[in-house]
């Protein structure tokens, strides 16, 4: 019996095949498992709510911070100040970038500062967020690089968080961008709803911010342990005796009860070192978050590092759980109760106004009724011809201006209008006549708006 070489080779291949196939499958499965773990870590579909809270907070902090810089604009960042461009370029790092390296004329600085403050405001309210966020970020790093001597911890915290917000899909909730999207849908049909945005991209942004905060706490905690003053429990006392943070009241208390200073010192280290490890666990997260926020509130109150503390707290917001926010929203909705707005569905102006109002009602607290097609059992048609009405859970019905005034305080999306509706005496003094005039002339306004809308459509067509 003779066996050809080919047959032997084929037999050997057959014997090796299962082993090779198993090996290949193992590799494939390992990669697939790695991919799944990677996706689970980074790309869980989430809403952008924690990022939006950070966006609004950082935007507000930047407005306050850089508004205060207006009187010092030229002293800090222009050639006329203590850091001329030549000196700044000489002392800056090789890769430092600032728009003010290229635009150094005082008028350019003033124009940019105005644009930057407007962009911060737009960033805070979420208007055109997808590109405004980049102006804010570039502006921020430009100020830092033009005069690096002014930068301290808070500025780097803000830069780090801003970069993460820039690469995340912010502006999809709690923003004017969202209001505009909802309003557009409601203009077609007042009952229309726009589903809340959620995506794996948002999940990745939240995770990046969480890791950033954990890294900051880890390094700041570990670096403290290296130093004797922290290990001995004297650090907090030593901070308060420096002129920068001198506080005679606290020093009086600590001098009499020095153990308090020791406790605060060790508690600071404990919170900072524990945070990066315990913040991830379901059970310990609320406590760690509360401890970290409390630490920053104390730093803000006693060391006057308000900007820094606020920026850090905004970073911690990335650890807010979705269900906490949902529960908070549901609790608020329950507490306030249902509100029904009765409007005139035949009046175009009224429908447009309702679309605007409802677009701000993110928690969907207000239900609507068109009295033309669906008469109200509580408010008569004759009264509804004169004004819009709000029916409360207890059966009370508030007309016109009073209805808006009631809603503004109870719908979080409308809180920004509180200053207009709640100025003692003045709001009611002017509010009632303005509302009554608008209500009486709503037909006229509807025609005018309709004519304008038709003109716009015609212009677009042309």
């Amino acid at each position: 019996m003779t066996v050809s070489l080919k047959t032997i080779r084929r037999g050997a291949e057959k014997r090796h095949m299962p082993a090779l196939a198993t090996f290949a499958r193992l590799i494939r499965e390992s990669f697939a498992a790695l991919g799944r773990a990677w996706s689970q870590l980074w790309f869980q579909s989430m809403t952008t709510m924690p990022l939006e809270i950070a966006r609004m907070g950082l935007g507000a902090a930047l407005i306050v911070h850089y508004s205060m810089a207006i009187p010092y604009l030229f002293e800090f960042w222009s050639d006329a100040g203590f850091m001329p461009l030549a000196v700044a370029l000489q002392s800056s790092e090789p890769w430092a970038f600032s728009l003010f390296f290229y635009f150094s004329a005082p008028w350019q600085l003033a124009v940019f500062h105005a644009l930057f403050l407007l962009s911060c405001a737009a960033f805070m309210v979420g208007w055109r967020t997808s590109w405004v966020k980049w102006i804010v970020f570039v502006g921020k790093i430009s100020y830092e690089a033009r005069n690096p001597q002014l930068a301290y911890g808070a500025d780097i915290v803000v830069c780090s968080l801003l970069l993460i917000l820039c690469v995340s899909p912010v502006g999809r909730a709690m923003s004017l961008d969202r209001v505009r999207a909802v309003r557009a849908a409601k203009r077609e049909n007042l009952a229309a709803t726009v589903p809340a945005y959620s995506s794996p991209w948002a999940g990745a942004g939240i995770r990046l911010m969480q890791i950033q905060m954990a890294v900051i706490f880890f390094y700041t905690g570990v670096s403290k342990i290296k130093w004797e003053e922290w290990r001995d429990g004297d650090a907090v006392w030593l901070v308060f005796i420096t002129n920068d943070y001198y506080n005679s009241l606290i020093l009086d208390v600590f001098a009499r009860q020095y153990w308090l200073s020791n406790v605060v010192t060790y508690a600071t280290i404990l919170v900072e070192v524990a945070y990066p490890f315990l913040i991830w666990q379901r059970r310990t997260r609320p406590y760690m978050l509360a401890a970290a926020v409390a630490l920053h509130v104390l730093i803000a109150a006693f060391l006057a590092l308000i900007h820094f503390s606020f920026a850090m707290v905004m970073g911690h917001m990335s650890f807010l759980r979705q269900e906490w926010l949902t529960r908070l929203g549901a609790w608020w909705k329950r507490k306030i109760g249902n509100m029904e707005m009765i409007y005139d569905g035949r009046c175009g102006f009224c429908v447009r106004s309702m679309a605007w109002l409802l677009a701000f009602d993110g928690l969907k607290q207000i239900s609507i009724r068109d009295f033309r097609s669906n008469p109200s059992p509580i408010v008569s048609k004759a009264r509804l011809e004169k004004a819009l009405y709000l029916v409360l859970p207890d059966g009370r019905a508030l007309p016109g201006f009073e209805a808006y005034r009631y809603v503004v305080l109870r719908v979080p999306g409308l809180w920004w209008q509180i200053p207009f509706f709640y100025v003692p005496v003045f709001s009611r003094l002017f509010g009632h006549p303005i509302y009554n005039w608008v209500a009486a002339n709503r037909g006229l306004l509807s025609t005018a708006i309709g004519r304008h809308a038709r003109a716009v459509v015609r212009r677009v067509r042309l």
């Binding site: 205060m68 890769w95 002014l150 990046l208 890294v215 030593l238 002129n243």
Partner: protein, 200 residues
């Protein structure tokens, strides 16, 4: 519909074209996922390794790779807040008037403790103390102008070292870092630099 050329209409109706679009969408998603994954990986490494001391060649190599990214985006830091506490210094200046009288000022006392300007002022005065020859002239000129009513002849910039003291000292009334005490004891400190106001 009739405006669209016939060939285009046929092409659009082809299932393969629809399938092609679907495939393109899937690839776009995959590329997006890959790009975001790469950025996340890169940025996470940057966040974690930036504060590590550069004591070994591995960290130094990492630094060389990441430095442009960290510097240009303002992310370069060690996150070592308040460690160490260190020995502080306070900035002050003395105006010498035409009669030879000296008037001492500690500019930080004029800045509100709660405002952002306080932190900027601290940083600015630290900068002047660190490099008085580079930045001192600007501030000396500003102080000469500010106190023009005193008819200043010269301004001397000072650096006052803060001292460490303990609860017992505090209880016995010793407050060496109290701004008021510091201001009343300026004579013991060495000047950083002196500028002539008349030449300014």
């Amino acid at each position: 519909m009739s405006d669209i050329p016939r060939t285009k209409r046929i092409l659009r109706s082809l299932p393969s074209r629809r399938a092609g679009r679907l495939i393109a969408k899937r690839w776009r998603e995959r590329l997006g996922y890959l790009a975001l994954s790469l950025f996340i990986g890169w940025h996470t490494i940057a966040m974690m390794l930036v504060p590590v001391p550069q004591n070994n060649p591995i960290v130094r190599a990492f630094r060389a790779l990441y430095q442009p990214y960290l510097t240009s985006l303002g992310l370069d830091t060690t996150w070592d807040f308040f460690s160490p506490i260190g020995w502080g210094h306070q900035f002050a200046y003395v105006i010498e008037d035409a009669d030879g009288k000296e008037h001492a000022f500690m500019p930080i006392l004029e800045v509100n403790w709660l405002l952002a300007t306080r932190r900027w002022s601290e940083r600015v005065f630290e900068t002047v103390m660190n490099e008085p020859h580079l930045y001192g002239g600007y501030f000396a000129a500003a102080y000469c102008r500010k106190h023009a009513s005193l008819k200043p002849v010269a301004v001397t910039l000072l650096e006052i070292p803060e001292s460490r003291y303990w609860p017992d000292d505090h209880l016995s009334g010793n407050r060496p870092n109290d701004p008021a005490y510091m201001l009343s004891n300026l004579a013991v400190h060495n000047p950083l630099i002196r500028f002539d106001c008349l030449q300014k």
